[in-house]
């Protein structure tokens, strides 16, 4: 009683800290002094979930039959079917047609030349984004061509195009269906929420089993991965159509069909297009990763380089991905903007498809006569790979002591102790603390939800790797927030820099995750330090962005009120800006964690020992059950973090007086 009274007199933060310490100590005592199964997970809590999932999926793929036809026959047949559009796209964009066999193969019809396609990209960029975008696009095209990356970029593009078209069609259908029926919406939203947190590798495993190694498995995985945001955005976009606009449609006597096709969809088009941009970028990311199961293209180059530790080659292919990403992102955004706000054509201006069509004909003609316009001559291909490799060698020789000292210090003094502490902490203590924290933030419902998810991880037997993931995530997110928030705060007070900052952040966030591994590996070779650095790099962008948005969205009137009351800069920050920005900052932390999770899995490629590694191993050895279950464990972790932070953000938004009781 007297202790409680004294705690009540402390300032808020101190009070919270004291409560935390008390909780941790109490839980530690209980779980360590209690029965043994509280500290080591007992066998009766574990279920062979992986085996069950693996066996049933394998049975389904290998032995199950539908209507007398083996599932495998069906899926492989389907794979053959969806191979066709990819093959067609690859023929047109990258490879052309061949005749002859064996060593006598000669190209009978060339693909569209770099001149034709690159020019078309620049023309489109110019029409929708003005000369600035045309210039950006030109630079990216020039880079791809002169570094000899064009053909592989076009293979990647073929995959992206076919996947995006499929994902868009499916997404629209599911989105419209969900929009029309709340029942369907609830079902799809539930599935989509889980799908968005399941790590990218986990998609590859079942598709590999069902569709076999090759572009079609990659395509299916990619479409599945890009589908959730497309559905989500379609529903949101349709819901955002103003009530008056729909009333207008009804008043003009639209039938249900007319209302959908002529009023709701066109009005929602702008927002759907924004979602389309997102799913294009997700598709690109996935296509790069899907190189692991045979998508080919630029991603394969990066993977090959990573495996050989050929940093230079990897970096160039990585830059190629960046160039392709920038073209796709900027152009699709510009088109989305145009779709949202129509603009009339100047008299005499040709419609864009005519201009592009004419250019394709002319450029193909030129390429026919002038060989280098078809395929960039090998002798003129620039390569900086040697330079980068030399640079890495040089860094590793000249700076070895410094880098190694840093690496060793980080590993031995910070990361290992933290990891070991998490590994040593009894599982029951972690779950107990989770329950207390969740209860404090969001009440009993939240606590039950979080504990159930955590127990699911315990049951699968992946608790150890999960703690390893947690330690990497916590360190990376802490670093990202420590580095990102101050930068965001600083940018918030400089509005003139914000456009440039937004553009940079956008670009950083659209870069495929694989690219982020390269600089980390370059400096710190493989291991946890590289993983943390790559994850931190990737997760810093949202931290900066949300800090900037949160701080600059403080209502001007409140700032003026602070000024007129004579607040110092610090007082304004402490009492006005920070409380107003807190909900946004928490959303930012949440976003940072989600980004960190998606990167962490990729970081398994540089040799971590967490859930990501389990998935990667499963992928390489075709251990279907393990891969999927480890993937779902990552989803559980992510869902817990998401729920906790959303509850925190919700608390920060609502200000209610304390009940006096």
């Amino acid at each position: 009683m007297s202790l409680a009274l004294r705690i009540d007199n402390l300032p808020h933060i101190a009070r919270s800290s004291v409560k935390c310490v008390v909780a941790v100590v109490a839980m530690a005592l209980i779980t360590n002094l209690g029965p043994g199964w509280l500290s080591t997970i007992p066998d009766w809590l574990m279920f062979p979930v992986s085996d069950i999932v693996g066996d049933s999926l394998t049975w389904f793929a290998r032995e199950a039959t539908i209507g007398g036809i083996a599932v495998q026959e069906i899926t492989r047949g389907f794979a053959g079917l969806i191979d066709k559009p990819i093959e067609a796209a690859v023929v047109v964009l990258a490879d052309g047609l061949f005749k002859g066999r064996g060593l006598d193969v000669t190209q009978s019809v060339p693909p569209l030349s770099w001149l034709a396609l690159g020019g078309a990209a620049i023309i489109v960029a110019h029409r929708f984004g003005g000369s600035a975008l045309a210039l950006t696009t030109s630079i990216c095209v020039a880079f791809l061509v002169s570094f000899g990356l064009w053909q592989n970029a076009m293979i990647t593009l073929s995959n992206v195009l076919v996947s995006v078209i499929l994902a868009t069609l499916l997404g629209l259908v599911l989105g419209i269906w969900s929009f029309r029926s709340t029942h369907v919406e609830n079902v799809t939203r539930g599935i989509m929420n889980v799908m968005q947190t399941v790590p990218i590798f986990a998609y590859l495993i079942p598709t590999l089993l069902l569709f076999g190694y090759g572009p079609s498995a990659a395509l299916v995985a990619t479409v599945a991965y890009a589908l959730p945001p497309m559905v989500h955005n379609t529903v949101l976009a349709l819901k955002s159509v103003p009530a008056e606009t729909i009333e207008c449609g009804r008043m003009t006597g639209c039938t249900q069909r007319q209302l959908l096709w002529q009023v709701q969809l066109p009005t929602a088009l702008g927002k759907i297009a924004v979602g389309l941009n997102q799913s294009i970028m997700m598709t690109l990311n996935m296509v790069i990763i899907a190189s692991m199961i045979g998508a080919g293209g630029l991603g394969f180059d990066v993977l090959k380089a990573l495996r050989k530790l050929d940093i230079g080659g990897g970096l160039e292919a990585g830059m190629g991905i960046v160039a392709l990403a920038i073209i796709l992102d900027r152009t699709s955004q510009a088109i989305a903007k145009r779709a949202a706000h129509g603009k009339h054509r100047e008299p005499g201006q040709w419609p864009i498809w005519k201009v592009v069509g004419l250019w394709l004909v002319i450029a193909t003609g030129i390429a026919y006569i002038f060989e280098p316009a078809q395929a960039w001559p090998k002798d003129y291909v620039i390569s900086t790979a040697v330079f980068w490799n030399d640079l890495v060698t040089w860094i590793n020789i000249e700076w070895f002591d410094v880098l190694d000292a840093f690496r060793t210090f980080a590993l031995l003094e910070v990361m290992r102790p933290f990891r070991d502490a998490l590994a040593a902490a009894p599982w029951s203590m972690m779950i107990g603390l989770l329950a207390i924290g969740a209860y404090a933030l969001g009440g009993a419902r939240l606590a039950i939800y979080c504990v159930a998810l955590a127990l699911a991880i315990v049951m699968t037997g992946y608790w150890g790797p999960a703690m390893n993931s947690l330690y990497l995530i916590l360190i990376s997110v802490t670093l990202a927030v420590i580095m990102g928030f101050p930068v965001g705060f600083w940018l918030a007070s400089r509005p003139q820099l914000q456009t440039a900052a937004n553009l940079t952040l956008d670009t950083l966030q659209t870069l495929p995750t694989l690219v982020y591994l390269l600089p980390a590996v370059m400096l710190f070779r493989i291991g946890d330090v590289s993983a943390v650095i790559a994850v931190t790099l990737y997760a810093t962008a949202p931290a900066i962005r949300y800090a900037m948005i949160g701080m600059s969205q403080v209502p001007v009137a409140r700032l003026e009120a602070a000024q007129i009351s004579g607040c110092t800069r610090w007082q304004t920050l402490r009492w006005i800006r920070f409380p107003a920005a807190l909900p946004t900052l928490l959303v930012g932390v949440n976003q940072t964690i989600m980004m960190a999770f998606s990167m962490l899995i990729i970081a398994a490629l540089v040799g971590t020992k967490d859930l990501g590694q389990e998935i990667l191993i499963a992928l390489n050895r075709s251990l279907v059950g393990q891969g999927i279950v480890a993937g779902l464990c990552v989803a559980c972790l992510a869902l817990i973090a998401d729920a906790l932070l959303k509850a925190g953000a919700a608390r920060a938004v609502t200000h209610r007086h304390k009940k006096e009781d």
Partner: protein, 351 residues
């Protein structure tokens, strides 16, 4: 013009639009409402069931060619009424007759047909389709009816020039100002030549100057087209400027219906009185309402005013006169006289 509908105010004519005892109660449906006691339910009873009454027992007729304004503050139920009239919102109880035909009995297909051919609506926030240019927006109601392209575009161009937007046919809504966007909205609502014209706070989202311009534009159009008009507004000045008759709504109820003059001179309740208190009478009251019969000393002198003129319009003429002033109708028949004294007293609000 082909779309001119002759104005006629014959008393034996069926009203264009008639609604009787309209209720809209949110949280329930027609049959449940009737089973529970319908219009006879007490307020406490309605509240106990958790129902929200948006419109209670609204009855009025709108004559052919009349401009009927429904005025009320936000939440008074005025927008719900206009949506009931077109069945955008299904009324919970009551009857609606369009040219004597029961609107609520119409099935889905009939309703589509009625909306396509008989009704046009202008919305507060314009509700233009952002992906269509001006021409496409105005032609939209005709496209819905599957009218062939050349015909619907010809008609749309006609409407666009009617609202003064020639040359902007290929512009998109986002490229137009608010006033221009609402002109497009007006043109679109008239494209199918509807008999009934609904305007739901059409000028509320516009700047005061543009608003005044569009009010004048509306009066000009109405002079030309004689549409049966139901106009929703929260602005009494606007109502007075535009209306033939005004219905004032408060908490879902129509508290008074009358001409602008009626409302200003004979407010039926304190609520209406508070509303019209600050309306300058000279801008509302017509000369005809203050005339007296001729006496032997009267004669038609130099100064003659029209019975329909408002006091403010004729004040400059009357200011200098010493004799009584003759009041004549449009045909030049003398209806009566008014003395300068009386005129000044009414202007000053003493009477």
């Amino acid at each position: 013009m082909a779309n001119d509908i002759p104005a006629s105010q014959d008393s034996n004519d069926v009203p264009m639009l008639s609604c009787q005892g309209i209720w809209k109660v949110f949280g329930t449906n027609k049959s449940e409402f009737e089973r529970s006691g319908g219009p006879d339910m007490r307020d406490q009873e309605l509240a106990r069931r958790g129902w929200t009454v948006a419109v209670r027992d609204a009855s009025f007729d709108v004559a052919r060619g009349e401009v009927f304004v429904i005025m009320g503050l936000s939440g008074s139920g005025k927008s719900t009424v206009v949506r009931c009239l077109s069945r955008l919102i299904e009324p919970t109880n009551g009857n609606i007759l369009v040219e004597g035909e029961d609107l609520l009995a119409a099935n889905e297909a009939q309703l589509l047909d009625i909306r396509r051919r008989k009704m046009g609506m202008v919305f507060q926030h314009f509700a233009l389709l952002p992906n269509r240019d001006v021409l496409g927006n105005v032609a939209f109601p005709l496209q819905v009816q599957n009218i062939e392209r050349s015909k619907r575009e010809e008609r749309a161009r006609e409407m666009i020039s009617l609202v003064g937007l020639e040359g902007r046919e290929k512009f998109f809504p986002d490229e137009l100002s608010g006033g221009q966007q609402q002109r497009v909205g007006i043109a679109r609502s008239l494209a199918s030549n509807p008999a009934i014209w609904f305007l739901d706070e059409p000028f509320s989202a516009l700047d005061p100057l543009i608003r005044a311009d569009l009010q004048d534009e509306l009066l000009r159009l109405q002079k030309q087209l004689h549409k049966t008009t139901v106009f929703i507004t929260h602005d009494l000045d606007e109502a007075i400027k535009i209306a033939d008759r005004i219905a004032i709504m408060d908490q879902g109820r129509i508290v008074q219906i009358g001409s602008p003059e009626d409302l200003v001179l004979n407010p039926g309740s304190d609520y209406v009185k508070r509303f019209v208190k600050n309306v300058p009478r000279s801008k509302v009251v017509r000369v005809s309402s203050i005339l007296r019969d001729a006496t032997s000393s009267d004669s038609v002198g130099d100064i003659v005013v029209k019975a329909n003129d408002r006091l403010a319009d004729v004040a400059p003429k009357i200011g200098g006169s010493t004799q009584s002033i003759a009041i004549q109708d449009d045909k030049g028949v003398t209806l009566g006289y008014v003395d300068r004294d009386k005129f000044v007293r009414v202007l000053a609000g003493v009477v």
